[in-house]
Symmetry: C2
């Protein structure tokens, strides 16, 4: 079992990806004479990969192939794949803007932040899995957290509920995007598992109504939720639990 691959006939996927990457370079005229690997180049290659093929295609080998090198070369700039994941979600967090706090519009400001983060996650399908795994330790995530906290505090929310609500909002955004990416990924591939709304409703209709009375009675409500209605509903409910009170009150 020493070396398969006398490299003539069949080529593995990495080599193919490397070839793909090769033809994007101007074929050795003036560019492509050097390839200084940096974290920036690693991250942008990783982002392209995730954007076009999803998070499960984000592989050290694929990233290395996109950079026309071997996987070992990445470990000089990135400790782990986990660290690469954290770098990516940090960069994502750095892209969402934080507003200057306006006590009149604190709910909308919170929602704006969450929506922007959600859209950033959804742009890179499945990357929210990394967001769930990576604790929000990075400075960029902390910047978001700081922004939300000041919005809530200047609105008069007590510190403890504010902190917990921010944590819950972060968690919910990640989980929501993770589920959404699963759903979207399933509907594109031939893979079953997650099914779309119509199939789900039909499946609900087959339930025995004596053991699932409430479910079959409200199939519409259970399967409804256009676009991000569910997202808005949940976050509004979460924020609605916070008592605004007078600014700076305890």
């Amino acid at each position: 079992m020493a070396n398969r691959r006398a490299p003539g006939r069949d080529e593995t996927r990495d080599e193919w990806a490397a070839k793909i990457a090769a033809l994007s370079e101007p074929s050795g005229t003036e560019r492509a004479e050097k390839a200084p690997i940096t974290v920036g180049r690693i991250m942008s290659a990783a982002f392209e990969l995730v954007e076009s093929e999803g998070f499960e295609a984000l592989t050290m080998r694929r990233v290395a192939a996109a950079l026309r090198t071997g996987p070992a070369s990445l470990y000089a700039h990135v400790r782990n794949k986990a660290e690469l994941d954290e770098l990516l979600i940090s960069d994502l967090c750095a892209r969402v803007p934080v507003p200057v706090p306006d006590p009149e519009r604190w709910t909308e400001q919170m929602l704006d932040i969450c929506r922007a983060l959600r859209d950033e996650y959804l742009r890179y399908p499945g990357i929210s899995r990394a967001a769930l795994a990576a604790a929000p330790n990075s400075l960029d995530a902390l910047r978001l957290s700081e922004g939300m906290l000041t919005v809530l505090l200047t609105a008069g929310v007590a510190p403890q509920p504010a902190a917990w609500a921010i944590d819950a909002a972060f968690l919910y955004v990640s989980a929501y995007c993770f589920e959404a990416s699963l759903r979207h990924h399933a509907e594109s591939g031939v893979d079953q598992r997650v099914l779309d709304r119509d199939a789900l409703a039909e499946r609900y209709r087959m339930l025995p109504s004596d053991t699932f009375p409430s479910t079959v009675a409200h199939i519409y409500e259970l399967t409804s939720g256009e676009e991000h209605e569910r997202f808005e509903f949940t976050l509004r409910a979460l924020l609605g639990g916070l008592t605004p009170g007078p600014p700076r009150a305890s």
Copy 2:
């Protein structure tokens, strides 16, 4: 993947696991003459594995080794590893009891269900990852959903908010347990990444207070939350957004 290998000289982990499983059998006296592989045996072996070593140790090969066979033998009873995961979380959902709806105690009843589900998840560290991935399609999960829906409906909550709140609660419980298992897993191993509260608070203290004023001003609130305080807070906030109204009202 870091191979630490305490056992034996140079035996692979599967062989070692098979040996472990071998000594639990009465050494060929009367038992161990047959081994009819069933889904039940696969699931219980999988549960033992996850309970003692965590979800990332749940491997087709490990399960097969615990059953003293090869990995290919499992695929006669289980289509995928994904299907095995779904079977496990279905079984977990089947264990949590649903109450008879009491309009006076609807909040507590909802919390009881979520708490029971949470404890079941936390008993098997990391299994909530599978719960996040698997859409709640199984009949057992649907039984939970049905239970919650009837609790909310008999309390007078409108169908649409009820359905969305149930969805959000499911999602939050899974995400909360996933994060908790990450935290617990990190504190046991030498692995860094997630750090405990003291280390986190110390790290917060090092932040520049001009760019992170609110954060450094409320380190305590940001890092507090004993036991499941955060869990209770979030779910209460989520449920508090539902207007009970008179039973059956619109």
